[in-house]
Amino acid sequence: MDLLWTISTALLLCSLLSILWKESDRRRNRNCYLLDFVCYKPSDDRKLSTELCSDIIARNKRLSVPDYKFLLKAVVNSGISEETYGPRSIIEGREECPTHDDCVDEVDDCMYRTLDQLFLRTGVSPIDVDVLVVNVSMFAPSPSLTSRIVNRYSMREDVKTFSLAGMGCSASPIAIDLVNNIFKTRKRTLAVVVTSESIAPNWYCGTDKSMMLGNCLFRSGGCSFMLTNDPSLRHRAKMSLKCLVRAHIGADDDAYSCAIQKEDDEGRVGFHLSKSLPKAAVRAFAENLQRLAPKVLPVGELALYAVRGLRHRLWRSKEAKTDAATAARVNFKSGVDHFCLHTGGAAVIDAVGRALGLAKYDVEPARMTLHRWGNTSASSLWYVLGYMEAKKRLRRKDRVLMLSFGAGFKCNSCLWEVLRDLNDGGAWEDCIRAYPPQTLVNPFMEKFRWVKEA
């Protein structure tokens, strides 16, 4: 009898333990750790000063004088410094007819430089990579960019590659989402993600004002980063992914067409930015925050927000409150320590900062990234993160929110938790001491003052 009793109890315990072990194993392997990231620093001969920008713009003989002034004004007031980078083909005068090799070389330089660094720093061999994701929105050659990397680094036959294209400036969180979902189905997986943008084939050579702004703001940049769900690598990881929210309001026609690649009246392809873009951005932003807030904010803050909302509904206020203003009443700083905002432009950063109730200190990384690197599209978030790390702001247990907007119209966000104190200089190594600068005003403001007065 005793033996029987022992056996039954043992059986019961074993089964309970096995269920618990299976569950905990599943949870341990569901984490997504950021091992390291490397931002792209092009060579100095590719720097685009305001003067050089003005020369490049002037090469377009189709532009009238008012158009030229409009563009120069955009460049001078953009908050972008003299240190940003452009593609070689544009600097050398081939902006109207770049060759296929120009486009490929531009992306290759970014991918290979950052990947060489990434493999060196992490000590991981390319043959150990299980998943490879590349996102470059406006250039998708055959074979794909992922195949170029597989060939260059002789990766394994069974490596899972995914080449995302057309997904806009918010594609970084999309790539992370893809990898995170694969992590939920496979144990001990190592993923490498490369995010960049192709500028060489996308210079607009026409006279449509709505398409010219891209020329002024976009700059060369990129980032490669390594993710893993292997719990044994946790001690080497920089950050751990806590949650990811994607909001796609493409169902609305205005939102879908507010940032779209199309031909102008003369048949030249350009990236059209419409006047309804800020409205679409606000809507997408609100949509994203609605789903993000419960995952990110502490219960107390959510309760306060609920109470405020209830009060507002019961005692209807006569003032019209927009979604953005409503969001301002939620204090995101209660659940987030650092904010990586997409550097779409000075106006975008300021608007998002106001909506989230952020101080100058919080938007400084984004403003400085815009200043130093320009709008590098999907990879901008990583330069902002690099600034925070170089400034030694990232401490263990800090929470970092990445927020970006992109064509579609999408607003994507992800929250990371820092796993250890970070202090690597990265791409900011040689210039972080000069930041923040005394002034963000373009040094050519004097020279081009006639632009301001026009």
């Binding site: 296929h100 150990d128 074979p143 597989v150 189905t185």
Partner: protein
Amino acid sequence: MRAVPLPRFLSSVKLGYLNVVNHLLAFPIIPVMVAVLLQVLELGPDELIAHWRSLGIDTIHALCTIFTVVVVATASFMSRPRPVYLVDHACFRPPRTFRVPFATFFEHASFMPFFDEKSVRFQVRILESSGLGEETCLPLANRCIPPCPSMEAACAEARLVIFSAIDELIAKTGLKPRDVDILVVNCSLFSPTPSLSAMIVNKYKMRSNIMSFNLSGMGCSAGLISIDLARSLLQAHPNSYALVVSTEIITPNFYAGNERSMLLPNCLFRMGAAAVLLSNSRREEDRAKYRLLHVVRTHEGADDRAYRCVYEEEDGEDNSGISLSKELMAVAGEALRANITAVGPLVLPVTEQLLFLASLVARRLLGPRGGKPYIPDFKRAFEHLCIHAGGRAVIDELQRSLGLPPALVEASRMTLHRFGNTSSSSLWYELAYIEAKGRMRRGDRVWMIGFGSGFKCNSAVWRCLRTPKAPVDGPWSDCIHRYPVHVPDMVKLL
């Protein structure tokens, strides 16, 4: 963390070893159970009851044990990865007005100002032995003289082919666009911003929390890459629906030069698109057509020869096009062998695997004297085969190297004849052919093989869950009665 890739032979041995180890418990337990069962059967019912009473098990113990077994079984059952079902699929049916018979192709090529006479004759010779028929379709922009490949025209083609396929899928399945949780689109040679996936979200007013992905540049095998991605996403999200759209947009990719290796795509690529609805919802178990068993991807990009055999570049006159190298067949054969080595252990019966292993060992130990390499009989693993209709040469090469009878490659040949090379969607046209011919039966296994730039060879294995009811509505509805046709080796045009 340093790892060295195992040579192929050792990989097979390793796979075998893994299979044995994974099922190690089965090896001692099954004989023991059989022995006990035989012993029990020998005893009479009275003796059995006496044995039972002597154990002294009271109710509580019995209940505990039963409870434990039930709980563990339920937990294991619930935590299994949910199967991925293919609810239905639909293909774009090109209108007759888009047809490009040989005579039209020849005439247009002759009038193009940038083709020299040699190039025209070369393209016609390719067409003569291509295996294409007279009903393949090109988009409107490509039928202008010269073609006008504007972005507007490319978007119009995309809207036409993609929305037609999705509309048909919605009609077949009753799918509500707002129920789509995952959207994966692949189109290799055209990727506008916003992406084609955003275009679909906009047209069908899909939800704002949709997980959409747009793959581009991944070649003719990208359809199976999309299926792989959708499967991973479905495994991470229970009770979901995934819409996979595979297409190739022809408009922007006309080659206007005279380089021979780059003229082939002009001759072979045609309009097509497919929309596939996948789900892991238990509700769909009753009406799903197929179940996805395996997806195996092989990437030969590490080998320079394979990497460069399908390559986009500019010719001497700055015309952009895709060049196909002369080594394409050899590379495709090697990629297929690599893929088969991975697929084989998953699908082949044990006897075939052992024979393959024995042949491998013999060749390793004895060299060429060990005999010819044993090619596993894949007919024992699959009832149907869908090989990417890349061109007649690819199908011929696969038929030869796998030792396949004509019946197994008929779907590929007929798809190439009727629709041309529609790139990543061709596999779905082939599946539709098999269904339209009434050959698909419940329990049949289908092997889809896609090849593409990179160089990649991807496979998917499906099992049919219910025999499709005749007549099957699809892209073959209006012409299946004419098929199969005899496709001559050469159709004399000049």
